[in-house]
Amino acid sequence: MSQNQPSTRRLARRISWESMLAVLVLIAIVGGMLLNKDFPTVDNWSNLLANFVEIALMALPLSLIVITNEIDLSVASMLGLSSSLLGFLWAYKLAMPLAIVICLVVGALCGALNGFLVVRFRLPSLAVTIGTLALFRGFAYIILGDKAVADFPPEYAEFGLGNVPFTFIPSPFVLFIVLALIFWVLLHHTTVGRSIYAIGGNQTAARFSGVNISRLKMLLFIASGVISALAGIVFTFRFSSSRADNGTGFELSAIAAVFLGGVTVQGGKGTVTGVVLSLLLIGIINNVLTLADVASEILRIVTGSLLIISILLPNLIAATQERFRLMQRQREITTLGGASAAK
């Protein structure tokens, strides 16, 4: 039967979502070079990578959460809370390393609250994290109000803005590279990763095969909290600014990157490579549009559309394949019917 399969379908199965993304990234790079002569410069690439580092950081744990069929909408609020807290603690003359540790711990606590409500009370993560989206952003406003803290020590601002010596890679981006490698190993080469896929594929089956679902989900939400807090710290140093509204709306880009990266809404599918490629794609598109002086509101439209298209497209492809399959079955039945009638 398999040799009779139409070649387009065999081709479609062969082409993975990741290779499609890789092609799109290449097209975007070529397009960027054709559209703008500033695009391939070293300065622009450090700029490009630096500009999506926070979203890239948040997208890593978020993709694992989405693979287990949950979601965390509160990431941007945890970023804002961590940024505000860092500014607040610094304004109170706390030593910077201590302030950073406190921010990360608070991030872990925020994530633990999400995880606790989802795991212990079996509440839908969508509703819980809409609630904590408001709650954590609210905390940020309680801490800083409408004030802003800006006078961060130069060596930290240097970390936020500078590059790794002798390269065009922004220093904060190193954090992303390291974390992406860790998440890649975790998801694709450990039993934890297999358990994450198992939960997303079939939660009941995963429970019966001995996966500790509660603990794993709890850990993922905590990881999301800590890394969002880290993203908040990076954001603060990059802009030398701590404000309660820092990073408002970043959850859209992070979620768009996750779904565009090939993580499915039904859970159980997706790779770190895919998410990294989609982050790169979103980063390049934003960069090219910014170079072309496109207003930031259009960027929001583009990101929102990417989010919708990344799910609409596979759905449409699946629906067309299904229709094609049904038509073929119909044809087989008719020919069989004809054959038996001839006999």
């Binding site: 979601i71 409500l117 009370f121 079996r122 509440l123 839908p124 969508l126 509703a127 819980v128 809409i130 609630g131 904590t132 989206l133 408001a134 709650l135 954590f136 952003r137 609210g138 905390f139 406003y141 309680i142 109000g145 409408d146 309660a244 709306g249 959850e251 859209l252 979620i255 768009a256 779904f259 809404v265 207003a295 509101e297 259009i298 960027l299 929001r300 439209i301 990101t303 929102g304 559309s305 989010l307 919708i308 799910i311 609409l312 759905n315 449409l316 629906a319």
Partner: protein
């Protein structure tokens, strides 16, 4: 006093009853601290503040009943509010009624975008409306481009919707009350309404019962869009001044009100009356905070905490109810 206790039990057992009680307690407490809390002016402000949220809550209830969510309403309100204002500017003398109708149509159109993507594109509502929340708002920013509609651009007769009263109740509130009655009866007595509940209780069973789920989902998002369009026109009437940021972020207030009002986020449970009482509770609560001189920065986290409390309470009640059913049928 067994009778008295029974009465209290009934009151507390229905979500509407406990909401009324909470609102009453909060009002009495705040009034005892500051008698101005129930002055006619402050009551009128309260009604006006709650009206537009309560209106949006009607649409959101229909959506959440079906286990869906509509995050894009705030952006639809923003676009239609500015649209209404620019209609008055570009077409002097246009009747207010026509503007309201156009705003509702525009809302319906934007709702149709959501409906198509969700019902036929099979994209989860959360993702669709998160996307359109930003797409619609982005389009609004691009279109408005720093402009602003001011109260002087809007005819006084239209602004009167937001200020004048009838029988002591603001005109705006009357509109909401009429729609509330329509929605309450529609959801309770009519086939369409019951189908919304059926889809939320058990989507698979709803399909097996012959309900056209896609069509009902589409209906819900169209209704939500149209309501948001009406709310946009009324937003202009209420505030007079509209820029690109109008109504930004109110989706959180609306969803919180609906869920606090007893519409379970897991679908199939709740009433519009409860949801509107939820909006009233939130509104009374935030005026209480203002009267108690709590900084306004605290509002958002209180709202988030209330949403979390409400979903936790719903889950707890559902759990207890399931346990009771199990005990009740255990002899079978």
């Amino acid at each position: 006093m067994a009778g008295g206790q029974g009465w209290l039990n009934v009151l507390l057992r229905s979500r509407e009853g406990s909401l009324v009680l909470l609102i009453a307690v909060m009002t009495v407490l705040t009034t005892s601290l500051n008698p101005r809390f129930i002055s006619p002016q402050s009551l009128k402000d309260l009604m006006l503040n709650v009206s537009i949220i309560a209106l949006l809550v009607l649409g959101q209830t229909v959506i959440i009943l079906m286990r869906q969510i509509d995050l894009s309403i705030s952006s639809i309100v923003g676009i239609t509010a500015f649209l209404s204002g620019s209609l008055f500017i570009n077409h002097p003398g246009i009747p207010g009624m026509v503007v309201v109708l156009i705003a509702i149509l525009a809302g319906l159109l934007l709702g149709a975008v959501n409906a198509t993507l969700i019902a036929w594109g099979r994209i989860p509502a959360l993702i669709t409306t998160l996307g359109t929340l930003y797409i619609f708002r982005g389009a609004n920013y691009a279109w408005v481009h720093g402009r602003q509609v001011n109260a002087v651009n809007v005819p006084a007769s239209f602004l009167a919707i937001g200020t004048s009263t009838f029988a002591g109740i603001p005109f705006l509130t009357w509109i909401v009350l009429v729609l509330l009655v329509v929605f309450a009866i529609g959801l309770r007595q009519y086939m369409v309404g019951r189908e919304f509940y059926a889809i939320g209780s058990n989507p698979n069973a709803a399909v097996l019962a012959g309900i056209n789920v896609s069509r009902r989902l589409a209906t819900g998002f169209l209704v939500s869009g149209a309501i948001a369009g009406l709310a946009g026109a009324l937003w202009l009437a209420r505030f007079g001044t509209v820029d690109a940021t109008a109504a930004e972020g109110i989706e959180l207030t609306v969803i919180t009100s609906t869920v606090v009002g007893g519409v379970a986020i897991t679908g199939g449970v709740g009433t519009v009356v409860g949801a509107v009482l939820g909006a009233l509770l939130l509104s009374v609560f935030s005026s209480t905070l203002v009267f108690l001189r709590v900084p306004s920065f605290w509002q958002q986290s209180f709202q988030g905490a209330m949403l979390l409390l409400a979903i936790a309470a719903d889950a707890y009640l559902a759990h207890r109810y399931a346990l009771r059913l199990r005990v009740k049928w255990s002899h079978v």
